[in-house]
């Protein structure tokens, strides 16, 4: 039995087929009490538990998941990582996240297949080039990599796009973040779960939180489908269902739940070796290791908890793909699926204390939950351990709207469904 994954362990197990690999993480019975209970066993909850144990020495921790590990949004996203943000509260946080991604497979002793293939955002008019130049300059001033590419440079990198003279959206250039890329999303959940479990964290699957135990404005535990579990501190990390869970603690939040769809085509030979985003419409794609083109677009546009997407969004995304790359028009869409994400009035998340003592909130991730996973766990564990927000997330406070401190990266205003 090899607990540590290595080439040697692989060889040992290959030579002795009777030697079973140990389970990646333990499945203990829940204890009656923990120092910290994390509600939600997605990427953020598991990362938080891992860094609570690793960075803060708090190992008497339970992660409570209503389904199985990897069943939620950590396995439903389009797997992109990047840190091309522009405004103060976002840049340092997402850059910290990208730095953690860069070392994550070694950190967790689990191959997360981090692939820094670069993200290229295409400009479809000259004004966008000016906007991209400003964004790139801001990123570089913050120590983040960014390259402004003219149309000739983009064409060398992406010769397969529609470069014809009558293209509906002619390409004027692009901004590239070479360190951006993709990560195998399931491996992130499994890697954090395994590493947290090895440090003593209890991962309790198929256990739904049904209520919070709150006395005199202070939380002291949670009621679950497997009985009451007492806790010194409780952290919520259930993005998609944040309003639903926070309501059990009497909180009403600046969050609406919306569906975001993702799409995969039938597999084709390798052609798209970067992440591409488009300036004409919210549309992005990459090619998976299995060969399928992975597409993402905008949310459907109305609040819902059903993970079932609308057809008009499928059509829009397919139209974007074909106008960008006409040669894929005869490819068939293999699968599409939906995930429910928290949308906030300014498009930015929350990592924060709450009005209830010892109850903490992590949610409101909008489109950016997956890429934030490591830094979210890093800063949320700090926030819980010290009862004080980590310096990277001071702008992610729950009360920022009433203080006039919105963190609106695109200046879209207070409509959750337009963010």
């Amino acid at each position: 039995m090899s607990k540590h994954y290595s080439a040697l362990a692989l060889a040992r197990h290959a030579l002795d087929p009777d030697m079973p690999w140990p389970k990646a993480w333990e499945s203990p019975e829940p204890k009656s009490s923990y120092d910290v209970v994390i509600v939600g066993g997605g990427g953020h909850g598991l990362a938080t538990a891992y860094y609570l144990a690793k960075n803060h020495g708090i190992t008497n921790v339970a992660v409570i998941e209503k389904s199985y590990i990897g069943s939620g949004n950590v396995g439903r996203n389009t797997t992109l990582i990047r840190s091309n943000y522009m405004i103060g509260g976002n840049t340092a946080f997402f850059e910290h996240s990208l730095k953690l991604w860069e070392g994550l497979s070694h950190e967790l002793n689990f191959n997360c297949m981090v692939s820094q293939r670069g993200q290229i955002v295409l400009a479809v008019n000259p004004v966008q080039m000016d906007v991209f130049a400003r964004r790139g300059n801001t990123m570089r001033l913050n120590g983040i990599d960014a390259e402004l590419l003219d149309a000739g440079e983009v064409r060398k990198l992406l010769p397969y796009l529609d470069w014809s003279r009558d293209a509906r959206w002619p390409i004027h250039g692009a901004i590239m973040q070479p360190r951006a890329g993709t990560v195998r999303h399931d491996a992130v959940a499994w890697g954090y779960a395994r590493a947290a479990s090895a440090l003593g964290v209890h991962i309790i699957e198929n256990c739904e939180v049904t209520g919070f135990v709150i006395n005199d404005g202070k939380v002291s535990g949670v009621d679950t489908s497997r009985g009451r579990i007492n806790a010194g501190k409780v952290g919520i990390a259930v993005a998609g269902h944040t309003s639903h869970v926070a309501k059990m603690a009497g909180l009403k939040l600046p969050v609406e739940s919306h569906i975001l769809q993702a799409f995969v085509t039938e597999p084709i030979k390798p052609i798209v070796d970067n992440v591409i985003s488009w300036g004409a419409e919210l549309f992005y794609l990459s090619q998976s290791d299995k060969g399928g083109l992975v597409f993402g677009g905008h949310i459907d546009g109305f609040n819902t908890y059903t993970q079932r997407g609308q057809f008009n969004r499928i059509q829009t995304v397919a139209e974007c793909a074909v106008s960008l790359m006409p040669f894929i028009s005869r490819l068939r869409m293999l699968r599409h699926w939906g995930g429910i994400q928290d949308m906030t009035p300014d498009g930015s998340p929350f990592i924060s204390r709450t009005p209830v003592k010892n109850l903490y909130l992590n949610g409101g991730w909008c489109y950016q939950g997956f890429k934030a996973t490591p830094a979210s766990g890093w800063t949320y564990s700090h926030t819980i351990a010290h009862d004080q927000e980590h310096e990277l997330v001071r702008d992610f406070a729950l009360d920022r709207f009433e203080k006039g401190k919105e963190l609106d990266e695109f200046g879209l205003g207070n409509w959750t469904y337009k963010q």
Binding site: S243, E256, S257, F302, N303, W415, Y417
Partner: protein, 81 residues
């Protein structure tokens, strides 16, 4: 999803524009209490279940109406007067 426009009948959701939670009550004109405005503008019930909301038939008759819909199932309860 088909939505029942009170003027045009059942039409595909792609013809409509969503207008948000219709159960919110706008504070009275001249309300000075900022907390009241904050709650009105920024906080959402966001229920998993019955929800009343505004839609506009923007690619049709352009009529605004209130609709009852279940956010857990997308089941349409009908137009609310």
């Amino acid at each position: 999803m088909m939505l029942p426009c009170p003027h045009c009948g059942d039409r595909d959701v792609s013809e409509f524009r969503y207008g948000g939670d219709a159960s919110k009550e706008r504070p009275a004109h001249g309300t000075g209490d900022l907390q009241t405005w904050n709650d009105y503008v920024f906080l959402f019930e966001n229920p998993k279940g019955p929800h009343t909301e505004y839609w506009q038939h923007v690619l049709g008759c352009r009529r605004w109406f209130k609709l009852a819909r279940n956010t857990a199932t997308n089941e349409i309860g009908g137009v609310v007067s």
